[in-house]
């Protein structure tokens, strides 16, 4: 594996090369992690949302490699407004290739029921409505996990997690998130390495919150560039230096940095205020398993 701080000369050179890892080693690390967690938690297997996108396909494939596809359940949770038969086909393709069990549940009735019972529901507010969809998917996943003693495996990647491009308590909600330390472009490379079909790896990512939504258009920057900015920030580089090396406006890099910083509330347990001796989120420090 390359040194995580691959400093050549005085400064880090931000090229696509810095994002290259030994994908076989990454695969081993992740599958070992998944297997270990499932064993220690004494769960019977894994349930995950299967959207047909690269992240969830990769998470599903790695789960199957870790504990066997027969112990992995992929829930396809389409919804009328964003329904795309191609995505369902892609999800089925992955399930078949890695021997994963699947179930398909249309979440539209649940969504409509909520829409009717929320007095302030605004059909024009696509973000709030989209987040509702992500949270409904979470409800299904956790019902299955609860009922069948399964672990919920998330598929959030590092790029989305850093900039907070996800629904709080929605798609990010999971017991483990094995891809969370890999940038989006790295997930693509890992996906290719483990045999996720090219048609999935190469399609533009979308959180499927509203029709026609694509991540890169919404964020306003290509993942190839975003990942290098984030990599620079991860390595404590100054925004001027990142902008200079990537030939970008400093404002754009600053904007990404600010977004990364202000989204911390989406990544941690809810903040409380310290009142007593030891406090959740502050100084209760216990191991996960």
């Amino acid at each position: 594996m390359p040194n995580p701080i691959s400093i050549k000369g005085r400064t880090l050179k931000l090229t696509q090369n810095v994002l290259n890892l030994n994908w076989e080693e990454v695969k081993t690390k992740i599958t070992r992690f998944i297997r270990d967690y499932v064993e220690k938690s004494k769960a019977k297997g894994i349930v995950l949302g299967l959207s047909g996108g690269v992240d969830s396909s990769t998470a599903a494939a790695l789960s199957a490699m870790a504990i066997g596809g027969n112990k992995v359940l992929g829930l396809m949770l389409p919804e009328r407004e964003t329904y795309n038969p191609k995505d369902v086909k892609h999800a089925e393709l992955v399930a078949e290739k890695f021997g994963i069990k699947t179930e398909k549940i249309d979440i539209t009735p649940a969504l409509e029921a909520l829409e009717k019972t929320i007095p302030v529901f605004d059909p024009e507010d696509k973000l709030c409505k989209g987040n509702l969809k992500a949270r409904i998917r979470m409800l299904y996943l956790y019902y299955y996990a609860n009922k069948l003693n399964l672990i919920v495996c998330g598929s959030s990647d590092k790029s989305e997690t850093m900039i907070g491009y996800f629904t709080k308590w929605g798609d990010v909600a999971a017991d483990i998130s094995p891809l969370m330390d890999l940038y989006k472009t790295q997930v693509r490379k890992l996906a290719k390495h483990i045999g996720v079909p090219d048609v999935i790896v190469e399609k533009p990512p979308s959180p499927m919150l509203w029709p026609g939504q694509t991540a890169e258009e919404e964020i306003g920057i290509k993942y190839e560039t975003l990942d290098l900015i984030l990599y620079g920030l991860e390595h404590f580089m100054k925004t001027e230096e990142i902008a200079d090396q990537l030939g970008l406006q400093k404002d754009l890099v600053e904007k990404v940095k600010r977004r990364w910083q202000i989204m911390e509330h989406k990544r941690r347990m809810p903040l409380t205020t310290k009142i007593q001796y030891r406090t959740v989120g502050f100084d209760f420090r216990l191991p996960f398993t």
Binding site: F236, T273, K274, Q276, G281, D283
Partner: protein, 277 residues
């Protein structure tokens, strides 16, 4: 050297990571303190940046002297005051080695700095994760007498205050960022350090809420007999002026002569036993 003067306890909350805004606040408080006759204005620990900054500390730390100390020097010159404040310091010999530092600036410019010797890394604190500990207790000669600097958790270790007292400091300045759950400790220890050293002690704590931690304020000036001369409000920003008269030390030093009665041989034992704890 002046025997008596007014000291201001500038109990502020900080704009997180915004050095420019915090320097502006320092200037505002110095101006107000000066109008009330203060010749020394003391700000809390890490008051240049705020206390809870985690990884952002690396980007905020500066060499001393540096850009921010120069900005505070201008304020000190403009108002003719001494200023003590806290900031994350970048080592002049390294690129990412930081100290939690107290800076003393006078009307004629930069005087000196003290690097926190005891870094709390327990409970809610993670200072050793970010800071290297200092190795030198510091007292500085000024027109206001010798001023000794300590920072927050140092007050739990009487050795640091003792050392600066033995250097000749008659005023111990403790800058702090103490969360509310520890209030009673500090209220006791500030008085104890003053009494055992027969010195004045100015304690200035942060206020405000940073990442759910509520800093309790309660800054205070304590006399050599343990009497609380001035106190600031709990939990809110405040500016309190107290008067120091070094002449008050003489009668108390004769009444409870702790310096006369110090037993040097105990310190050798302390060293030996500490190493074997």
């Amino acid at each position: 050297m002046k025997q008596n003067f007014k000291v201001a306890l500038a109990q502020i909350s900080c704009h997180k990571g915004d050095k420019k805004a915090n320097i502006q606040k320092i200037e505002d408080y110095v101006e107000r303190a000066r109008r009330q006759g203060a010749e020394l204005v003391i700000f809390p620990e890490l008051s240049l940046t705020g206390y809870i900054l985690r990884d952002e500390l690396y980007g905020l730390a500066e060499k001393i002297p540096g850009q921010s100390t120069i900005a505070v020097e201008k304020i000190a010159r403009k108002y003719g005051t001494y200023i003590v404040f806290g900031m994350p310091e970048l080592s002049e010999k390294a690129q990412a080695t930081l100290y939690n530092t107290a800076v003393l600036i006078g009307p004629k410019g930069y005087i000196g700095k003290y690097r926190k010797m005891h870094l709390p890394t327990h409970s809610v604190f993670e200072e050793k994760r970010y800071f290297r500990q200092g190795y030198q207790a510091e007292a500085f000669e000024t027109e206001l007498g010798k001023l000794g600097l300590i920072i927050c958790y140092d007050i739990f270790f009487p050795e640091v205050s003792r050392l600066i007292r033995l250097e000749g400091a008659q005023l111990i300045i403790c800058i702090s960022a103490s969360p509310a759950v520890r209030r009673t400790f500090f209220e006791t220890l500030t008085v104890a350090r003053a009494i055992e050293n027969t010195s004045f002690l100015a304690y200035v704590n942060l206020v405000g809420i940073e990442d759910g931690l509520q800093f309790w304020g309660g800054s205070r000036l304590i006399g050599p007999n343990g009497k609380v001369i001035a106190t600031a409000k709990y939990d809110e920003e405040d500016l309190v002026i107290g008067e120091i008269d070094y002449a008050e030390i003489r009668p108390i030093e004769a009444f409870v002569p702790t310096l006369r009665d110090l037993r040097a041989e105990l310190f050798d034992k302390l060293k030996e036993k500490t190493e074997k704890l």
